[in-house]
Amino acid sequence: MPSSSTPAIRFTNVSRHFGEVKAVDEISLDILDGEFFTLLGPSGSGKTTCLRMLAGFDQPTTGSILLHGRDVTGLPPYERDVNTVFQDYALFPHMSVGENVAYGLMIRQVPKAEREKRVEEVLELVRLPGFARRRPSQLSGGQRQRVALARALINNPRVLLLDEPLGALDFKLRQQMQIELKAIQKRVGITFVFVTHDQEEALTMSDRIAVFDHGQIEQVGTPAELYEHPATAFVAGFVGVSNLVNGPVAQAITGSPTMFSIRPEKIHLTDPSAPMPEDSYCVEGHVREVIYLGMYTRYLVELKGGGELTVMEQNLHTTSMDVLAAQGRTVRLTWRHDHVRLIPEKAR
C-alpha cells in the first residue's frame, strides 16, 4: 500500500448533530493515499453520514475535513476532487449509458471525441464493453452498478467513495463484485472509501477498517488486527462472532473478573478425561445444542459454573452422525492463553 506523508483524508474532531441527536460524535481519522479503507458499522452508527460529509452533501457541525491537505469543509460537492458511487446507483434515466458515464467530462467541456474514447476505456475497465448506447432501464442491477462505478472513475478522482454499493445484489453476484472492485482499486491505485454494514465484506476487501458505533469510532485497524485484537466488546462482537465473558464466570476461568473475548474456533472440545494441554485455560460443561452446518459444527456448551460458550469446529474427520451424538455429553473446553483477548472497561 503506497502512502505519502500527507494523508488522503483527515477528519479532525468532526461532529454532525441533528438537533439533539449526535449522528457523528467527535471523529478523528486519517485515511492514507491509495488504500482501500472501509467504514464499518450497523445502521445509524454514523458511517454513512461521514461519507456524505466527505462528498459534500452534508456539512459538519464542528470540526474540519482535509482532502490531500486542503480544507474542504463547506465546499460544495462539485468543487471537491472526490466522486461517489451511490447506493441506488443514481443513473440519470433520461440519458444513455454513455452519456451517464461521460457526464462529468461533459460538464468540464472535454471535447466530444475525447469523451467517447475515454468512455469506451472505462467501460472496458468495468467489463461492460460496447454498452454506451444502452439505456439504464435496460440493464440489470449488477450492470447498473458497474456503470455507476465507471461514471465515477472516468473523472480520475483522487478519492472514490462507495456507499454500500453491493447491498442490492444477490449473494453470488456480491462475492464476484467484491473481488472485481478490489482488483479495480489495485489497478487504478486511487483511495477507495467504502461504507458497509457487512463485516465479512469489510474483511474481504479492506486494507484498513474503521468500526463505527453510535457516532464514534471504536477501533481502526487491518482486518487481522480487528479480528485478533479487538479493542472493545463491541468490536469483538461485531467483527466476526465471539464469546464475551466477564464477571464471576471469567473469574472462575482466568482468575480475574476482567471481560475477555475468545473466538469460537479457537476453543477445543475434548473429553473430560483427556490430558490437559499446556498453557491453556479449561472449563467443564455439557453440550446443550449441536448445530450441524456442513463445513463446520456449532456447539452451544453450558458451563458447569454458569454461563455459556459457543464453540465452532470444522468437520474435518467427523460426520453428521458423529457430531449430533455429542448432544448432552459432558465435555471439557480448552483454549490457549494467548488466544484470549482482554477487553478493558470503556473509559467514557
Binding site: 463547506g74 460544495p76 468543487e79 473523472n155 491505485g189
Partner: protein, 314 residues
C-alpha cells in the same frame, strides 16, 4: 491513470453564484419562493383584503360614488333586508340538494369503476368523466338550455311518453317549480348537477381505490354479507372522499351566477345578487359585503370537512 487528475471546474461567475446559493440555502429558498409568494400575496391576498376593505366602504346614494371611509353602514344595509336572508337560504338549499344528488349518482359509478371495471375500461370511464370536467363550462351550461327548452328534446321525450301532465304538475309545486323547465328550480338543479358531477366522482373514486382489497376480504371472512361490508367497512372509509367532493359541489353552487341567470326565475341567488349589485347598481361595497357571506359559509364548511378527514382524501 491514477495521477492524471482533472483540475476542478472553471470558476465562472455562474459557478461562484451557484456556490454562494449552495452555502446559503435560505437565500436560495427566498429566490425560489419569492416571486410566486409575492404574486399570490400581493395580487391574490391583496385583492381579498381590498374586498374586505370595500365591504366597509359605503355607496353614497346621491352621488352614486363610493365613499372610501370605514363604516358599518353597508353591513347594516345587508343584514337589515329580509330578502337577503332568503337569497342565502335559497342558494344554500340548492347547494345542499345538488351535493346530495351528486353523491347519489356518483357513488354507483365510482364503485363500478373501482371494483368491477377492467383496467382498460376503467381508463376509458375515467376519460369519460374527465373530458366533460375539463370542457368549457359555458358550453356545458348552454347544452342544457337546448335540452330543457320547451320545444326541445326533453319536452319532446316527455310528450312521447305521455308524461306531460306529470311535468306540469311538477312545475306547479311552489318552491321548486316555475313557468317552464328551462326557468325553474328543478331545471337549475339538473344543470348544476350535470356541471359539478365530475367533481364528486373523482374524490369518491380515489377514496374507493385507496381501500385495500384485503379489508373487504377480511370482512367477508369474518362473516359479513355484502351489504354489511358496505355499511360497516366501505361507507365509513369512503366518507372523507365524499366530504371532499361535497366541498366542490357545495362551493361551486354557492358562488355561481351564470346558471341561476340562465335558468332561473326572477328570484335571486347569491352569485346573481353580487353580480347585479356591482354591475348595474355600481354598489361595489354591497357586493363585497355580500360576497363575504359565501366565504364565511365555506370557511365553516371547510372547517367541518377538515374535522371529518376530507383533506387527506383530496
Amino acid at each position: 491513470m491514477a495521477t492524471d487528475s482533472l483540475a476542478p471546474a472553471r470558476r465562472s461567475n455562474f459557478s461562484r453564484l451557484a456556490t454562494f446559493l449552495y452555502q446559503h440555502p435560505r437565500v436560495a429558498l427566498a429566490l425560489l419562493l419569492g416571486p410566486p409568494l409575492l404574486w399570490l400575496g400581493v395580487v391574490y391576498l391583496g385583492a381579498l383584503l381590498t374586498l374586505v376593505a370595500q365591504s366597509f366602504f359605503h355607496l353614497d346614494a346621491y352621488s352614486g360614488k363610493i365613499v372610501r371611509e370605514l363604516t358599518l353602514a353597508t353591513y347594516a344595509d345587508l343584514l337589515s333586508q329580509a330578502e337577503n336572508y332568503r337569497i342565502v337560504i335559497r342558494t344554500a338549499g340548492m347547494a345542499a340538494a345538488v351535493t346530495l344528488g351528486a353523491v347519489v349518482i356518483a357513488f354507483p359509478l365510482a364503485y363500478f369503476m373501482t371494483r368491477y371495471a377492467s383496467p382498460r375500461l376503467r381508463a376509458l370511464l375515467y376519460l369519460a368523466v374527465l373530458l366533460p370536467l375539463w370542457s368549457n363550462y359555458l358550453v356545458r351550461v348552454f347544452a342544457w338550455k337546448i335540452i330543457l327548452a320547451k320545444e326541445g328534446i326533453f319536452g319532446w321525450f316527455i310528450n312521447l311518453l305521455h308524461l306531460g301532465w306529470a311535468l306540469d304538475a311538477l312545475l306547479k309545486i311552489p318552491l321548486i317549480g316555475g313557468p317552464s323547465l328551462a326557468n325553474s328550480m328543478i331545471g337549475m338543479f339538473l344543470v348544476f348537477l350535470y356541471v359539478w358531477l365530475p367533481y364528486m366522482i373523482l374524490p369518491v373514486q380515489a377514496a374507493l381505490e385507496r381501500l385495500p382489497r384485503s379489508l373487504l376480504e377480511a370482512s367477508g371472512d369474518l362473516g359479513a354479507k355484502p351489504y354489511q361490508t358496505f355499511r360497516y367497512v366501505i361507507l365509513p372509509l369512503v366518507f372523507p372522499g365524499v366530504v371532499a367532493g361535497s366541498i366542490f359541489t357545495f362551493s361551486l353552487t354557492l358562488g355561481d351566477f351564470i346558471i341561476p341567470e340562465a335558468f332561473g326565475t326572477s328570484e335571486f341567488f347569491i352569485g346573481r345578487a353580487v353580480y347585479v349589485y356591482q354591475g348595474t347598481s355600481g354598489n361595489l361595497p354591497l357586493a363585497a359585503a355580500f360576497t363575504l357571506i359565501p366565504i364565511v359559509i365555506m370557511g365553516i364548511y371547510l372547517y367541518l370537512a377538515k374535522r371529518l378527514g376530507a383533506f387527506e382524501a383530496l
